[in-house]
Symmetry: C2
Subunit: 308 residues, 2 copies
Amino acid sequence: MSKLLAVGTVAFDAIETPFGKTDKILGGSGSYIGLSASQFGVKTGIVSVVGGDFPQSYLEMMNSKGINTEGVEIDKNGKTFFWSGKYHNDMNSRDTLITELNVLETFTPVVPDSFKDAGIVMLGNLHPLTQASVLDQMSKKPKLVVLDTMNFWMDIALDDLYAVLKRVDVITINDEEARQLSGEYSLVNAAKKIHTMGPKYVVIKKGEHGALLFNDGKMFFAPALPLAEVFDPTGAGDTFAGGFCGYLAKTEDVSFENMKNAIIYGSNLASFCVEKFGTERMQELTAKEVKTRLQAFKDLTQFDIKIS
Amino acid sequence: MSKLLAVGTVAFDAIETPFGKTDKILGGSGSYIGLSASQFGVKTGIVSVVGGDFPQSYLEMMNSKGINTEGVEIDKNGKTFFWSGKYHNDMNSRDTLITELNVLETFTPVVPDSFKDAGIVMLGNLHPLTQASVLDQMSKKPKLVVLDTMNFWMDIALDDLYAVLKRVDVITINDEEARQLSGEYSLVNAAKKIHTMGPKYVVIKKGEHGALLFNDGKMFFAPALPLAEVFDPTGAGDTFAGGFCGYLAKTEDVSFENMKNAIIYGSNLASFCVEKFGTERMQELTAKEVKTRLQAFKDLTQFDIKIS
């Protein structure tokens, strides 16, 4: 079992969907990645920052799941990063209502000594320089570095993104962002071009349409589980990434074959995340539920045609 | 091996894509369904109508593939149905430039005697009354009736569509149309509602995002094969349906388990269709190519997680 180090946000979200709305609740990429990875019982450390307004109880909840929060700096005089958004009726598009960076504006990640030798490093969606500074602090080269990013950084910090991508094994990115980063419309061609930027493995997230894994001409696809109701899509992508990394950390096998399983687990966990508001469903999720749903993924995708 | 009877259009298409444009070439749902099903060596009969301007050579090409065109009426004084369209750069949306119904306006399908006992009937996208009249002519109840339709018929002939749906086992429909027909956004709920209209099996086509099969609470998903280049998407849905029906006709097994294989074959054949303009790729397609691509579908979807 490898240690998993994840840098990301730990934040407040206020969410409105056609099903209802929340006050400020726990959110942030780091929270979702950590909760998802915790399903695999791996030693996960989160590097992030919160303000003096952040409830200790949230950190305690994470600790109770085995998530190490030593690396979550508490800036007593600052306010926690806050995002508020409203989903449209189709749940595929949303408007951002409020983004208050607060303590994130001056965030300098500090990796705790106990995680400087982590085997798997997940660089959540932050400024590429912030992501790079986490890698700079590692005491030995991680077995696998996974990076998530978004169009925003391509717009304002493309050269920094190029620089950190050279140090990354796996990039997770959505379809539109893959097109923007590569300048290619076809996802097959986009992945090919992104390979040349550094990442040997390219994971393209297509939301309700599943996720594709590319490596050196090979492809694998994990569907999203069709659900009767998607309650709140917030955090699904980070939950996917957390499941992916958590499974790889647990199995210590970063081959393409094992990454297939990892994206199935990522998709599995993401399918739970969207069933309730925020991190609620992930907090109560049991191993038994994950196992049962794994069977649903098998039923959904496995077929038996003999190729004579 | 069952006989397959397909009613659909045999037409002229003029297509423009970012890769080029064509003059009037062979098109129509019946042509695509027939060419796709011909890969399985099943006895396929097409019921359709063309005008005096339709080249005999097209019919001969179909006959050479084992497609029976006895049921393709030639209206010497009429002109063949003509559709012209232009695809946008993303290849997912298109504008219809010209639709000339011509001989289709007065089309009354006549099922040849030799196909009145067909085991599988594919009702291509036509007026629901035209689809129903084909069923009326069958000498015995088919093993399986498959129907394709579109939003246009929901808008102008919904009651006729409801009536024919009661006589149908499988409906193939795209995601937006499934939502329109059911009034449900979630495809899981849409399928559930469409079941109550008649079809025990609901196939929801999502274009580049694959296809879902629903039956009595069970689900199966076939991805579309990610391609470096989609040259012309025209006919992909009909090719999918032709592959689905052709495989079921060949294997004579209309169980849910075998339908999984059938939609994989449908997706397989559709992935070839889009590689060239119109029916060109389907005309030259070999069994060996289909087999090789079947392995690509296995590689894309099959994983090995033991559920302990």
